[in-house]
């Protein structure tokens, strides 16, 4: 990543922000140090000056103005770093080592900071900071005593300069660290960004790299990958459904088209009444729509992964209604129909979908069981707590090796092709079962004992829609 781009990253901005906060804190700290040390220097100077003044006042009390004058002369000869000025009441200098009092107005008693010029050994003039105090002596004369504080102040300045330097160094280091962190974060995000861009461009197979260090970037990447997996699976499901619909609708649509074409030719030739063809065509269309709706229902259930608007309902009551609906059909076909329901059971789910699933199972049983056989509808609680709604028949059954296959979409076994149906009945039951957190069980029926004489009878088939216990359900 180039530097200008790096500057726009969030992590770099965060670094800048924290640096700014640090700088502000450091400035406040410096200011405090300055105030504290500068005050200290002045205070010390003032105390020193005070001591000098009181010693001179003692001299004054003992020896009068002349005594002070004498003392000043002695003291200015020595190498003491004091500045003295003795003045009369009108502030006219009498003696001392400075020419003018720095106190304003000149006749007041006050403290003052001032500067003195000094010629050093090279002949250059240097101005030095000083601090002084002026007092009025008992007979009205004015005495000013000052002290050089340049050394103390330059010490403070050195501290401040050093701190400033350290601050600048910290800023530069912080900036560098910020750039490094940003670059690191950007690198970690690069894989994610690439994957997102690839998916955006239409490549659903793209995945973000997981580096295996288990940090939050890895977590984000694997979360995103899981999401993409699900999206891809759903898309795959839809695509498969689309292919399946296209495949399965092609033949009825072709049949429909040729029927209509034939009818048109008949009408053109004035040969026959097309009504029969048209009615057939309508029936073909209904078949197509049925297939279409079933595929759509399956896809939606699978995509949603759960039953829409679930509620608690009594499966026995639902099945009793279905029993009443289907019993006459069984009777007409010469099948013995029986039903057995446990009372007081509850399952959570979508009643309509559950009804549709059970209707499909009953439909199958009635369709494939030859006359003279039996169909049984049963609702009971398993010892595991699951609730099972089962349909058992005495038909030909399904060989073990085919049982897994028959729930697939559009799979129809050889002996079933003569029967009407979309090839989606059990797929829908399976989808309903899964959407409810349950499953579709397919087992052998009661065996050949019953009705072994009737042709087409077999081991029978037992299909069951199994719901989980309602408490543990969605």
């Amino acid at each position: 990543m180039r530097l200008p781009d790096l500057v726009h990253t969030t992590s770099f901005r965060l670094t800048l922000l924290s640096l700014a906060l640090f700088a502000a804190a450091a400035a406040a700290f410096l200011f405090y140090i300055y105030i504290a040390t500068a005050g200290e220097v002045t205070q010390r100077a003032d105390e020193e000056v005070g001591r000098e003044i009181s010693s001179l006042e003692t001299v004054y009390a003992r020896a009068g103005l002349a005594g002070v004058n004498q003392a000043l002369i002695e003291r200015t000869i020595g190498e003491r770093p004091y500045f003295y000025l003795l003045m009369d009441a009108a502030a006219k200098p009498i003696s001392g080592n400075i020419a003018v009092t720095p106190v304003e107005p000149a006749t007041s008693e006050a403290r003052s900071s001032f500067r003195v010029s000094e010629t050093d050994s090279d002949g250059a003039i240097r101005r030095r900071a000083a601090w002084g105090r002026q007092v009025r002596l008992p007979k009205g004369e004015l005495l000013f005593v000052g002290v050089d504080i340049a050394e103390g102040q330059s010490y403070v300045l050195r501290i401040i300069r050093a701190t400033w330097g350290a601050g600048v160094l910290v800023l530069i280091l912080g900036l560098a660290a910020g750039l490094l962190v940003s670059r690191n974060v950007s690198r970690s995000l690069l894989g994610l960004k690439r994957a997102v861009a690839a998916v955006e461009a239409g490549d659903l197979h793209a995945r973000a790299p997981v580096r295996g260090v288990g940090d939050e970037y890895d977590e984000l990447a694997s979360g995103m990958n899981a999401m993409l997996d699900r999206v891809e699976r759903l898309m795959g499901g839809l695509r498969h459904a689309g292919d399946a619909i296209a495949h399965d609708l092609r033949s009825p649509l072709t049949r429909l088209r040729s029927r209509l074409e034939a009818a048109l030719i008949e009408v053109d030739n004035g040969r026959a009444d097309p009504t029969e063809s048209l009615i057939q065509a309508l029936e073909d269309t209904d078949g197509v729509l049925k297939t279409f709706n079933a595929v759509l229902a399956i896809s939606r259930l699978q995509a949603a992964g759960q039953a829409p608007s679930p509620q608690l309902f009594d499966p026995a009551e639902l099945c009793a209604g279905l029993a009443e609906l289907y019993a006459p059909l069984c009777e007409d076909k010469g099948l013995a129909f029986s039903a057995e329901f446990s009372k007081g059971l509850k399952v959570r789910g979508n009643r309509d979908f559950a009804g549709q699933a059970m209707a499909n199972l009953l439909d199958n049983a009635i369709k494939y069981t030859p006359p003279g056989g039996a169909v049984m509808l049963r609702v009971r609680r398993r010892s595991s707590g699951e609730v099972e709604c089962s349909v058992t028949d005495t038909g030909p059954g399904v060989p073990l090796e085919d049982r897994a296959r028959i729930v697939e979409r559009f799979v129809r076994l050889e002996n079933s092709r003569s029967q009407p149906g979309t090839g989606l009945g059990l797929s829908l039951v399976q989808a309903v079962a899964e959407a409810h957190g349950g499953r579709l069980d397919i087992d052998e029926g009661p065996g050949l004992v019953l009705n072994s004489a009737s042709p087409g009878a077999g081991p029978g088939l037992r299909t069951a829609l199994v719901f989980p216990e309602p408490t543990s359900a969605v």
Binding site: N293, S309, P328, N360, D363
Partner: protein, 223 residues
Amino acid sequence: MRILIMEDDVSAAEAIIKGLADAGHEATHVPDGEAGLEAARGGGFDVLVVDRMMPKVDGLTAVSSLRREGDSTPVLFLSALGEIDDRVTGLKAGGDDYLVKPFAFAELIARVEALCRRKDTGGQATLLKVGDLELDLIARTVRRAGVEIDLQPREFQLLEFLMRHAGRSVTRTMLLEKVWEYHFDPQTNVIDVHISRLRSKIDKGFDRPMLQTVRGAGYRLDA
């Protein structure tokens, strides 16, 4: 009967209008919900056929507004959505019936006519009469030409529904929804068996069969 069609698919609407006209109804078409609301507020319609997805104002909103304004004209929703929840939301919004696209024409006409009829017979008759067939809702008895016919409870409900829609086609799906209250589609025509049992009870021994099978549509009870 006057029917208002709110449907943004113009060719679909034209087909509906033609079909309703052939069945002897007068249909008016509006292409969006806004125009539909205006037309419906004008009044004078016996049934509103409302597509759920329309420009400007969608079907659900339009019907809810009409219901809030106190308009109780029967509404048949048309929808390409068709999940169970969609039907429930449609009925909650004030729809009286719900039909999923694509639908058989016979289904649409039968349902529209059923809605018109509902409006006609708002009163609570206790005795239904069709030709020489009588159904007593209080005593739960059925007679044809004075001869009492013994019916199972479900057969009674089935006949009641057919009698309330006498002279009109009712589809298998309508019977399944209104008599059995199932909103799904059994794969074989289980309804046919129930109808043939009912038919054997009410038509057997009489010269003139009343319960007719309408090809491509369903059944019709004729006087």
